[in-house]
Amino acid sequence: MAAGVATWLPFARAAAVGWLPLAKKTMPKPPVDNSSRSDEILYLNVSGVRFQTWKNTLDRYPDTLLGSSEKEFFFNEDTEEYFFDRDHEMFRHILNFYRTGKLHYPRHECIQAFDEELAFYGIVPEIIGDCCMEEYRDRKKENQERLAEDTEANESMDAPLPPDSTPRERLWRAFENPHTSTMALVFYYVTGFFIAVSVIANVVETVPCRPPEGRVKDLPCGEKYQLAFFCMDTACVLIFTFEYLMRLFAAPSRCKFMRSVMSVIDVVAIMPYYIGLVMPENEDVSGAFVTLRVFRVFRIFKFSRHSQGLRILGYTLKSCASELGFLLFSLTMAIIIFATVMFYAEKGTKGSTFTSIPASFWYTIVTMTTLGYGDMVPNTIAGKIFGSICSLSGVLVIALPVPVIVSNFSRIYHQNQRADKRRAQQKVRLARIRMAKKGTTNAFLQYKEDRGLRGRDSDSTALCVKNRSAFEHQHHHLLHCLEKTTNHEFTDEMTYSELCMTESVGFRTSRSTSLSSQQGAQNNPTGCCPRRARRRAAMRLANSTASVSRGSVQELDTLHIKTTSIPPQTRSSLNAQADNLKLNCGEQDFTAAIISIPTPPANTPDESLPPSPAPIPGILRNTRATAFTHETVKISSL
């Protein structure tokens, strides 16, 4: 991707022609650029590895890159070969496709890398031979699932709330993600506690307690301490009702919420109580009332909000619906068959318990699941033979779909674990990137200084200017043109907030007063990181020139990582930067786009006072702290 970014730069610069009629100021000068048939055997040089093949071989597939005239774009006239800057190991497979007509998928390669190579050479993946097609398909599906999980995880509510969210949205988020605020966490644990209390109360109230005075029979505890249990039940139901109403109020889509499973469980958990309150103490109706109390046990399902494992189990059962359905269907068939057979086999015997086919169902189920209660036993020889066949086949029928369900559960469980792990890693990764971001602004502002200095002291600046790549030069020139077009300049967040402050207070022109403005910046409530303010103070003390280095924390579209090597006199408050050095060494999981040459410590230009260019004097100009070596590793988001 490095070539891509650099190659699009000319286009971006050309498009700058569109700014010219609008420009308020004159454009700066651009940086100086010094820098461009019978059957024959073709030479293909792929990253230094030379391949040779007949021209006819390549012509076999004229709708691909190598087979069409498109490869002429890659012809190098000096060496008379076609040069491709791609992976030579994968090119082997591509070339073999032309030779044998079959495309194979190398199993040790990453599926995405392989897909990209295929796309580059214009080969459709469908041509992959049967031998490798299944593997390719599986890995592709797995990859897509993983990417889908990633996007889902990103959209999930771990992201911080937008600052202008209504209390309703905040409430909903607190309910869905309890660990976002302490209040939500407290509420989460309280509801969990009350669910447990409610379930235990339901269980305990049926346990027989010692009877009170004047009675002989044991009473269930529920009747002995009726008032206590009623109060406990009331308290739990109140909490549950309150929670349900709050969730209903906070839900972004009330209809969808009311139809969701958890909401139904909530309703079923609290309804029996209210119905019991409303219904009169009638003997006839109380039978139905007792049945209703059974529904109270559904409160235990409310735990699924608190336990991820329960949710996974539920989700597994849902996703294995077809396997479960098959299990049920085959069991039913087997039960009917065996029950019929057993019934007719045992029909003749006297006192047989197999009174009808439905009655035999019970025997068949108990036998097939290898329970064997022994309340119904065959007596005839035929019955015993069929009974044994029944128990043997029962083991098989049940054992068949179970591994499928188990593997489904295992897959989903591991997916979940992976998602959690990835989310945690992502947070760390983003935190590192954010800490290390001292992006292009710094380099660009340095460039602008250098241009200002160029007039004064060309020899000393020439050294540091030369070491920046041509790409950077041109990029900076482009940004400079944009500044001239709009007649505004790029700055960073620190200076911007300072300027907002100073505009209200009045301009400070002297350097001494600028020091106090630094202190003022420390108390700036607009979110200047105190660490940065401390660092700036530390830098001041470290460099007697009272220079200040700007840190930029702007969110960049591209990800930039800078490793800085810090001189030994840094304070502990600069640990953040020191961490960057350690963390960024050997980072493998970024596609590094451009690695520019490290700029030498810009010693001399910093000692001299930089002239303030055209804009208003008195604004702090950036003088870089000494002894910083920058290695800019730019990462393209493409």
């Binding site: 699009w8 022609v17 774009f73 098959f326 709009t486 505004h488 790029f490 911007y496 300027l499 579209d557």
Partner: protein, 215 residues
């Protein structure tokens, strides 16, 4: 019993292929475009063969399918302006490049536009710029179009600028522009007015030569 179970398992297997067909449809949507020959492009544009080679290699690397759609275009362009939001301006640029209004830029479009911008005559460059500003391609630039463009350019600057961006900065800029360009004060700028006004302005003429050595 085993035969029964066996027939049941066979039935479930046949259900799979229908699911695969959906995947096939997804995979087949790879669009591939190949540009015309190198010689033809050399004839049509002001680039040499070597330059075209260089251009194509980069283009192909970035877009193996041979076309750039708008999202990719915005992504690419935004990389050069990390401070602000370049997507609006990239959108207008995309429309200017995509002369055939196909929704995607092929290599020929890309190279044709570059040829005009870098190697074209002054009139051609100004005409291209006029087309860029004229969003609805009606031959006139009115104040709304210009305001959109200018706002898009200011968006690229981002939030942290010196001096701080005021809300009416684009509007002022547009007013200044119209003062200069709209000769007959009819509220719109036509191509001729535009070219004339630009030719009168020395700054613009001089800066048009700036970008010639880009490749």
């Amino acid at each position: 019993m085993g035969a029964v179970v066996g027939t049941l398992t066979m039935q479930t297997k046949q259900r799979r292929p229908s699911r695969d067909k959906a995947d096939d449809d997804l995979e087949m949507t790879m669009v591939c475009h190949r540009p015309e020959g190198l010689d033809q492009l050399e004839a049509q544009t002001n680039f040499s063969k070597r330059e075209l080679q260089v251009l194509y290699r980069g283009f192909k690397n970035e877009c193996p399918s041979g076309v750039v759609n708008e999202d990719t275009f915005k992504q690419i362009y935004s990389q050069f302006f990390p401070h602000g939001d370049a997507s609006t301006y990239a959108h207008y640029l995309f429309n200017a490049f995509d002369t055939g209004h196909t929704g995607s830029i092929k290599f020929e479009d890309f190279v044709t536009a570059l040829s005009i911008l870098l190697r074209g005559s002054v009139t051609e460059k100004l005409q291209w710029t006029f087309n860029l500003y004229d969003i609805n391609r009606d031959g006139y630039i009115n104040k709304e179009e210009m305001t959109d463009i200018v706002r898009a350019i200011y968006d690229m600057m981002g939030k942290y600028t010196y001096p701080a961006l005021k809300n009416d900065a684009p509007k002022q800029h547009v007013d200044a522009f119209f003062q200069k360009m709209d000769k007959n004060r009819d509220g719109v700028v036509t191509l001729d007015e535009f070219i004339l006004s630009c030719q009168e302005d020395e700054n613009i003429m001089r800066s048009l030569q700036l970008f010639e050595n880009v490749i």
